[in-house]
Subunit: 258 residues, 2 copies
């Protein structure tokens, strides 16, 4: 590939000029997804800069999430992640009836092998944000179900569900395997017919723990979805806090114009 040259009279520092040139090469398609960038040694020689300057240019692109460094191999233009489109009706009852939770149903429809691991069930007081939404008191305990979802063995999402203890007791919700159709199926069996959900979407950079458990590289944000489920009496029966690898998802919603 063609590299430009440094302009010492440019107000941008050298590392920025190099980063800009590499970024432009990617945008032009001169460097395609999966292509290897010029090595640090090549950049040092071509631009006549010290190694740290070449590294800093590459660091820019890494923290923008545009390239991925692999030790001993090189730096590569990031490959587009396989994207999962999540429709807003993914928790509709008709999907549940088939005996699958939303993630499993979705993944199988898309032809990828879904896995769930790191399942943990506990009982504890609810955090503030959950208390507000479930309308429970500070003294009330909730059942907390935590798990991680993988597609083709790649972790893509972590989820924590909070269910008021009085609703979960005596059902398989408190067991590691919540049974066919998942939590929502159990709640409906217990007489809490689901009426609607609200979802609150945000995006941010991941915490250290999220980076590790979702195997996220630098420069990759997460999407969070905080879903509250209401039964036909208008009672909030579950809050589910999910953290997804942002590059692996598109969320779709259908909104009436009234």
């Amino acid at each position: 590939m063609e590299l430009g040259s440094l302009d010492r009279s440019d107000d941008r520092p050298p590392y920025r000029q190099i980063a800009d040139q590499l970024r432009a090469a990617i945008d032009r398609g001169d460097l395609a997804a999966g292509d290897k960038l010029p090595s640090e040694a090549v950049l040092m020689g071509h631009y006549e800069v010290a190694r740290m300057t070449a590294r800093q240019a590459i660091q820019e692109l890494r923290s923008e999430g545009r390239v991925v460094a692999e030790q001993g191999r090189g730096v590569f233009v990031r490959l587009p992640a396989p994207v999962r489109r999540l429709a807003s009706d993914r928790f509709a009852r008709r999907h549940r009836d088939a005996g699958h939770g939303a993630f499993l149903a979705d993944a199988e429809k898309a032809g990828v092998t879904p896995t769930v691991d790191e399942i943990e069930v506990s009982r504890k007081p609810a955090p503030d944000a959950i208390r507000e939404r479930l309308k429970v008191d500070a003294t009330d305990e909730v059942v907390v179900r935590s798990r991680r979802y993988l597609a083709e063995g790649v972790p893509v999402e972590m989820a924590v569900s909070y269910i008021p203890a009085d609703l979960a007791e005596g059902t398989r919700i408190v067991e590691a395997d919540s049974g066919p159709g998942g939590i929502y199926a159990r709640l409906e069996e217990a007489g809490h017919l689901l009426d609607r959900f609200t979802e609150e979407i945000t995006a941010r950079m991941p915490t250290a723990d999220e980076r590790r458990r979702l195997r996220l590289g630098p420069g990759t944000p997460v999407l969070t979805v905080l879903r509250t489920a209401y039964d036909t009496d208008g009672r909030a029966v579950e809050v589910c806090d999910t953290v997804k690898a942002a590059l692996a998802y598109v969320l779709e919603y259908d909104v009436p114009a009234r």
Copy 2:
């Protein structure tokens, strides 16, 4: 604040240990939002490392978006951004009737001063992603309306609307000021009563241009919303591509359980 010490037998490199200790101090609340981190000189002295090692630790936190560096002043724990909650009914007709576009109505309700600038209107062939959604041919032109939204003078969102040329012609949609109620009011006046929208949500790191125009620091992702508006005949009459500073928004959706 209390700093720990390095463990040379730890498998994590020194810069990582320092970053982890600073991150933990923030999580503990030992360093609160707005607080100044120990300077590079202090970190060098305390941990007995070279300057680049101290800098690398801070660089970690910067690219995670947890701290912000200000030349000549120091490095500070990022302040929480003022968050705008966007309800899924924000484009409902009843909000439009008041004579305001969604952004203006929203901002005024929240008590912040809204501004719109960088308004550009042009006519060109539609990009592929837009063509698919508007169901127009490659040869058809669309009217492209581009603008930037600011809250209290701070840029928070950029938006580009695409309207089939035959719908926009002869209306104020092709003028810089599209008039009271915005594009949607003009479309409904022209007989295209809006029925529903679909919104497709993604998150990613910003491009160089987006970083500049939204004044985004390192470690701050963007939320994108691709909204398609359908009239009561089921025809797609507009696609709006928005890029928002992710930390400034929560998107809310209401979903029926069917």
